[in-house]
């Protein structure tokens, strides 16, 4: 983006501050299966219902005061004109329909604009006679894996190879990488590149990445992401046929394996990662980072550490800082970040406090880095769509807080005590099998969805992210 363009965009964003129409770009960030699509759907639907039925959002001050009049969704958001519309109605239909399932996994980019009409309390605006204002909230949905590509934008092939090969040295990755590494040992870096060998290397690497992210392994940090979710790309495109290589002591000759792979990596980085980053991951005002803490807990220490590292890697790519009146000079930046532990309805409500504490510990390093830039951070235990209820179960004469709901793939409801969520990182010894049991509950108990979706903490998240803008 040229300096001129940049300035124009930033100037517009400053001008918007003084208009009756305000825009906010919300970054919904989260790894795959962290619930971005469901969050976006619930966010839109609950805000759309807030005009007529504000009672579902007691902690969104504007709704609680009765200031929200109504909302509407639009497909076109400036700057995202070529992006397909986020399938809001479809996602909502899946959640509230007879099938009561979760929306299918996101495999491409989509965007949506939510426009909120509300009565303003700002004296300046009221004095001008504009008592009703409009806030546009732009949301982008995309496969969570793609986020993991963002760090590549600033990385050389050598550096990326070194890091990726380093990761593959540790269990459980080392075991899964055996086939691929064995094949690589046969290949000669400085030797001539043969198409069949290269293809096989890329395929084995792809198989390794797939194996790492299997639900029972849960190693999420895997690059390049388009190997797994190609989106609009053809999976057989040569641009998707490379893998990390050991650094050569001397410069690789032209046409060698190393040189070809490096070329393809560079093309991938320059033609796919950078444009994607430039077009869709800049100019955010607020950010919510969704973290599936419970899955990380269930899978054990390695998965927990991996998720932590992946979050760290992603968040490096965003611009944080105070965007004030001088933002036309400094560029629009994320000024508020909320970390959310999703799927909190899988544990009973009296454990939410510990869930939040655990999340805070998990993201402490990133939160600290972000706060240093003068950006406000917060944490919340969230459930975008609540599909369980709290019940008391009796076990050996003692009452136990449990959750009741319909797990996926079953016909009958069940009551579950999933184990105690610790308030601190468990130690290695504590992480034994059978300490936790989480079930994938589906949204089967939802009634009266026209009045908004039942949730945990969505209103707090909304207040944190856009509450001040609805004043």
């Amino acid at each position: 983006m040229s300096v001129k363009e940049n300035t124009a965009i930033n100037f517009r964003s400053v001008a918007r501050r003084f208009a009756d129409r305000k825009n906010v770009r919300l970054a919904v960030t989260g790894l795959t299966r962290s619930g971005k699509t469901v969050f976006t759907t619930s966010f839109i639907h609950n805000l759309l219902s807030a005009g007529l039925w504000p009672e579902r959002l007691p902690f969104l001050a504007a709704a609680s005061r009765g200031d929200i009049i109504a909302g509407e969704v639009f497909s076109v958001a400036p700057g995202l004109r070529d992006t397909p519309r986020f399938p809001y109605e479809e996602s909502l239909g899946a959640i509230t329909g007879k099938s009561s399932t979760w929306p299918r996994a996101t495999d491409r980019l989509s965007a949506i604009r939510l426009a909120m009409r509300y009565r303003t309390r700002r004296k300046l605006a009221r004095a001008r006679g504009s008592k009703v204002q409009i806030l546009n909230v732009d949301l982008v949905d995309y496969p969570g894996e793609w986020l993991l590509d963002l760090p590549l934008a600033a990385k050389s092939f050598a550096k990326w190879s070194e890091e990726t090969l380093g990761l593959a040295k540790f269990e459980p990755r080392a075991g899964l990488a055996k086939d691929w590494l064995a094949h690589m040992a046969k290949m000669d870096g400085p030797g001539r590149a043969k198409d069949a060998d290269m293809e096989q290397a890329a395929d084995l690497y792809k198989a390794y990445l797939e194996a790492c992210r299997a639900p029972d392994v849960g190693m999420v940090l895997g690059q390049p992401a388009r190997f797994i979710r190609p989106g609009d790309l053809d999976p057989d495109d040569p641009i998707l046929q490379f893998c990390p290589l050991e650094l050569l002591p001397a410069k690789a000759p032209a046409g060698s394996v190393y040189q070809v792979m490096e070329e393809r990596y560079n093309a991938y980085r320059d033609l796919i990662v950078r444009p994607f980053y430039r077009d869709h991951f800049r100019g955010f005002d607020e950010q919510i980072v969704l973290v599936d803490v419970l899955s990380a807990l269930r899978l054990g220490k390695a998965a927990f550490d991996d998720a932590q590292a992946a979050i760290g890697a992603i968040l490096q790519s965003f611009d944080y800082g105070k965007s004030g009146l001088l933002s036309w000079l400094t560029g629009v930046r994320i000024s508020k970040v909320l970390f959310a532990a999703t799927k909190s309805d899988h544990v009973s409500s009296n454990q939410h406090h510990n869930l939040k504490r655990l999340l805070e510990e998990m993201v402490a390093r990133e939160a600290n880095r972000i706060r240093f830039r003068g950006v406000q951070t917060g944490a919340v235990a969230l459930s975008a769509v609540r599909c369980t209820e709290d019940v008391l179960g009796e076990v050996q004469g003692q009452a136990l807080s449990m959750v009741r709901g319909l797990p996926a793939g079953r016909d009958e409801e069940t009551a579950l005590f999933p184990g105690e969520i610790p308030a601190h990182f468990p130690t290695d010894q504590d992480w034994h099998d059978g300490r936790f049991k989480f079930l994938d509950f589906i949204p089967a108990r939802i009634s009266g969805s026209a009045r908004g979706l039942p949730h945990v903490g969505m209103d707090e998240a909304m207040e944190y992210l856009i509450g001040k803008r609805l004043k």
């Binding site: 406090h353 209820e389 008391l392 179960g393 807080s401 079930l439 945990v456």
Partner: protein, 356 residues
């Protein structure tokens, strides 16, 4: 239960295993009035088994023995008995002499006296029963505020709902509260923590009551200020202020669900004064300054106007304390009643004189 679990965790024992049950065997926690934990039997543990910081235990202080007040008591009770005796004796003599003079006049006077005594007794009984009821309510309010503070400080989960339904109960029959209580019930879910439940309760139920009470206080403050500014002599000032303030206290108390009779009102005023003396001072110090400055400025125009403003402000302050004394939850920082807000209410009531 949490206490025991924590203790186990501290001692390094294994934590509770995950468990799955048939939903028919479980109770629904949302509807449960009791907190979602089990009561534990008291347990004694050897000191070696206890970890963590020792908690300083304050020895229960035995209240200091009150000084014997028997002399004063004898004085007052004998004086009271004497006065009552004189009245009874006098009445008796009066009636006897009336009968001696004329039987018809005597019996008429006796009937009137009997009626007076009878209705007096009934009145006193009613007053006492009202007073006892209100006293219970007032005591309940102070337990409410204490309990709410405890819930806030514990930051726990599962006890807020039961507490909120106890606070709501006295308002359930009021027609103006039906919608507010419904709004509260619609907004709160079992996922909310105790602090959140209290916040929703304050927002949906208690703050609307404040909004009803504010204009009353504002009106009383304005009335006393105007009255004092216009009244020609001091005794009228005092009478005006007392009469209007008592009226205001009664109105405010009614908003929060009290029906104070005469004794109840006295009790309330006593309580208000003690609240003002203990809790209020720090909170209102800033407001006092504002009021003083305002009065000084008013005093530049006319001494009487300045005096009026000061009286108005103190009436307002008393009204705020009355609100605090009757409110089931104590004021949070953000809605701490302040003179500034009252000033706004006064302006509002001036804009719409038709509503007065």
């Amino acid at each position: 239960m949490t206490g025991r679990r924590l203790a186990e965790e501290e001692a390094g024992k294994p934590m509770a295993e995950p468990i799955e049950l048939d939903p028919k065997r479980v109770k629904i926690a949302v509807a449960a009035a009791e907190p979602a934990t089990v009561d534990l039997d008291p347990e004694e543990v050897p000191i070696e088994a206890v970890r963590g910081n020792p908690v300083a235990v304050v020895p229960p202080t035995t209240p200091a023995k009150p000084k014997p007040k028997w002399l004063r008591r004898i004085f007052w009770s004998s004086l009271g008995l004497f006065v009552v005796g004189v009245i009874v004796w006098d009445t008796w003599n009066f009636l006897v002499s009336a009968f001696a003079k004329n039987f018809a006049v005597g019996s008429a006077l006796a009937a009137v006296a009997g009626m007076a005594v009878l209705s007096g007794v009934v009145l006193i009984f009613r007053e006492i029963s009202l007073f006892v009821g209100e006293l219970r309510k007032l005591n309940e309010v102070s337990t409410f505020t204490g309990r709410a503070t405890a819930l806030r400080e514990n930051g726990g989960h599962g006890e807020g709902l039961a507490f909120a339904s106890r606070v709501i109960e006295p308002y359930a029959k009021r027609s103006d509260m039906k919608n507010r209580i419904a709004a509260f019930r619609g907004a709160v879910t079992s996922a909310h923590s105790d602090v959140q439940v209290l916040e929703i309760l304050a927002d949906k139920v208690v703050r609307p009551l404040d909004a009803q009470a504010y204009p009353m206080v504002a009106r009383a403050a304005r009335d006393t200020a105007m009255g004092v500014a216009l009244s020609p002599f001091g005794l009228l000032d005092a009478g005006l202020m007392i009469w209007r303030t008592l009226g205001m206290v009664r109105e405010v108390a009614q908003v929060y669900g009290f029906r104070p009779g005469f004794f109840g009102q006295v009790m309330l005023v006593r309580r208000i004064l003690s609240t003002a003396a203990t809790a209020g001072i720090g909170d209102f110090a800033g407001d006092v300054l504002v009021a003083q400055v305002g009065a000084q400025v008013g005093g530049l125009l006319s001494a009487k106007a300045g005096e009026g403003m000061l009286t108005g402000m103190s009436t307002a302050r008393l009204g705020l304390v009355a609100m605090e004394a009757c409110r089931p939850l104590s004021f949070a920082e953000e809605d701490r009643a302040s003179i500034v807000r009252l000033g706004r209410e006064i302006m509002k009531s001036k804009e719409k004189p038709g509503e007065d």
